[in-house]
């Protein structure tokens, strides 16, 4: 169907030409925003490493496998550290630790009582989906050095998103209500984390709307994979918007 004569078509054509190029990676404004975004990414990978090692203590028979995953996260952390160095930016790690503190706290509480469902939801679903979505958006606007590193990280991230999914899938019957409950407690944290970095992300030309959409796609995909239906997922996702 064509819309050649439509005034709406004019809107379509006009706005399509307003696409921006890549940001200027050398400005102070860019570097300032990057110091926090880069720190979050580094801290996120560090948390992931620590969390997988911790989960291994709850499932000793899987500890070796989880250790391998944890090492992979550590490699990612080093890669992202190099990205900051490449742009001459010092990551604001203090900011990043505060940024992750609420989620970190919830993970530690769950770990203490051996609540694997919450641990996997936080690490293997929420943090991984948050990271993957941010990386997908970032790849489109990253400097060439960081782009290459991030692309390789994304390939890895898909692997261990699946790992957590597999456990939740295998245990869905017994853990479903706990999963819904843990989601209700933790998904709002992701939303508020996204809100906190929206302005910095915007400087890097990462749209908040796009970040949210990418997150919802990754989140929905992994919950579908676990065996929830799309209506159940829609109800779980309410926690992110209200």
């Amino acid at each position: 169907m064509t819309l050649l004569e439509s005034p709406r078509a004019d809107v379509l054509e006009d706005s399509s030409s307003s696409q921006k190029g890549l940001p200027d990676f050398t400005t102070d404004e860019y570097k300032d925003a990057y110091s926090r975004i880069n720190a979050i990414v580094i801290e996120g990978e560090k948390e992931a490493h620590d969390n997988y090692v911790s989960i291994g203590t709850l499932i000793p028979e899987q500890a070796e496998e989880l250790k391998k995953l944890a090492m992979m996260e550590l490699r990612h952390m080093k890669g992202f550290t190099a990205c900051g160095r490449n742009l001459g930016v010092k990551a604001d790690m203090e900011f990043a630790e505060k940024f992750f503190a609420p989620l970190h706290g919830n993970f530690q509480s769950a770990l203490k009582v051996g609540d694997l469902t919450s641990c996997f939801l936080i690490q293997a679903i929420l943090i991984e989906a948050f990271a993957i979505s941010a990386y997908h958006v970032y790849i489109r606007v990253a400097d060439p050095f960081a782009k290459k590193i991030t692309e390789n990280v994304v390939k890895d991230e898909y692997l261990h998103l699946n790992y957590g999914q597999e456990w939740l899938k295998a245990n869905l019957e017994t853990c479903k209500s706990d999963l819904v409950k843990a989601n209700k407690e933790n998904l709002p944290l992701i939303k508020s984390m996204l809100d906190q970095v929206a302005d910095d992300a915007e400087v890097l030309q990462m749209d908040k709307e796009e970040l949210m959409e990418e997150f919802m796609i990754a989140y929905q995909d992994s919950l579908l994979e676990i065996g929830l239906d799309s209506r159940e997922i829609a109800r779980m996702a309410i926690a992110a918007v209200v």
């Binding site: 064509t2 819309l3 004569e5 439509s6 709406r8 379509l12 829609a234």
Partner: protein
């Protein structure tokens, strides 16, 4: 498996439908929430054709609503994400319905083949334009005599003549239908001249000049908002086929002697157990659908897994013959004027 990518006709409709379907968080969200909502595979369906072929399909709502048209990046993401979902679900052939193909074309999405870790395979998608063009032509041929128009003696205006559907319609009317004169209307002169040369005929006119002369008007572009034309200036009878999107011509023109027919819509020979065509505001949602959607079904019935309609001006008469024959064979018929609207032919 065939797929259909569709969307609601307005934000209000979309929210109402989402609530009915149990998609609470999307239903309750404002437009920003919808802008970041993932596409949804909302329905699976099984269909048996009149010829006995059995197929399965899925309906994907892209979560796009027309209110997003001014947000270029959002609209682009909605279409690409819905296409990615169709491909990830292993759907063989998916039709891009409503604004989906318009956005694909106007935003040049061919350049955005990589969606996350999926490389879109264009051969799995069709615009459905070949079937739409064929259906529009058949609608003209079938309904014109019913309102007292003899096409052999008539002038037929095609508004949007140089577009993908428009140019195919012109080819068919000139080669097969044999109308008295084709009035070619489009915005750009250069492609109009090329079309005229290809057809070896047809008169290039402005819309204001063409409408008062035309016994039938085929609209494959939407009505320009600025167009000011008195219905009394139109011929009587005049048959208008509204093949644009959205379909809003009847509000402007329907009246004495002017018959407006929704163009590019087909009816299946029996009810289909789906709920999604209500979204597209079909009068009989269990049977009626956009011809572009039906094209995906026909291609699946025929096991013809290829991007049958793709790009601009690739629709040949041979392709229209193929899809037309298959359309009839599998139980589709072009939407007709309602009997009470027809002028008795003496």
């Amino acid at each position: 498996m065939f797929g259909l990518i569709g969307h609601s006709t307005s934000f209000a409709d979309a929210r109402r439908k989402a609530l009915e379907l149990g998609y609470d968080h999307i239903a309750e969200g404002d437009l920003d929430v919808w802008c970041s909502a993932p596409p949804q595979l909302v329905e699976h369906v099984k269909v048996v054709s009149k010829a006995g072929n059995k197929i399965e399909g899925a309906y994907i709502d892209s979560c796009f609503v027309p209110e997003m048209l001014s947000r270029f990046k959002t609209a682009r993401r909605k279409v690409l994400n819905a296409m990615e979902l169709a491909q990830k679900k292993g759907i063989n052939i998916t039709a891009l319905g409503g604004f989906t193909s318009i956005i694909f074309e106007n935003f040049n999405l061919l350049e955005h083949r990589q969606v996350r870790n999926t490389t879109l395979d264009w051969s799995r998608f069709t615009t459905g334009n070949t079937h739409t063009a064929w259906v529009i032509c058949r609608q003209l041929e079938i309904n014109a005599p019913l309102v007292g128009i003899d096409l052999k003696k008539s002038k037929v205006a095609v508004v949007g003549a140089t577009g993908d559907i428009g140019s195919a319609v012109c080819r068919w009317l000139s080669e097969r239908t044999g109308v008295s004169e084709l009035l070619l209307v489009a915005r750009q002169q250069k492609p109009l001249l090329a079309l005229q040369e290809e057809l070896q005929g047809g008169r290039i006119m402005s819309i204001q000049e063409a409408l008062p002369e035309a016994d039938a008007v085929i609209w494959v572009a939407s009505l320009p908002k600025t167009l000011d034309i008195e219905p009394s200036m139109l011929r009587s009878p005049c048959l208008m086929i509204d093949g644009g999107y959205p379909k809003n011509l009847d509000e402007k023109f329907a009246g004495s002697g002017v018959h407006v027919l929704k163009g590019g819509i087909v009816e299946f020979f029996e009810d289909i157990g789906w709920g999604m065509m209500e979204l597209a505001e079909m009068e009989i949602p269990q049977r009626q659908m956009f011809a572009c959607f039906a094209e995906a079904m026909i291609l699946e019935f025929e096991k013809c897994h290829t991007n049958f309609s793709w790009g601009r001006n690739n629709i040949t008469l041979k392709k229209m013959d193929f899809i037309g024959r298959a359309s009839v064979e599998h139980g589709f018929s072009a939407l007709k004027l309602k009997p009470e609207l027809q002028t008795p032919v003496v």
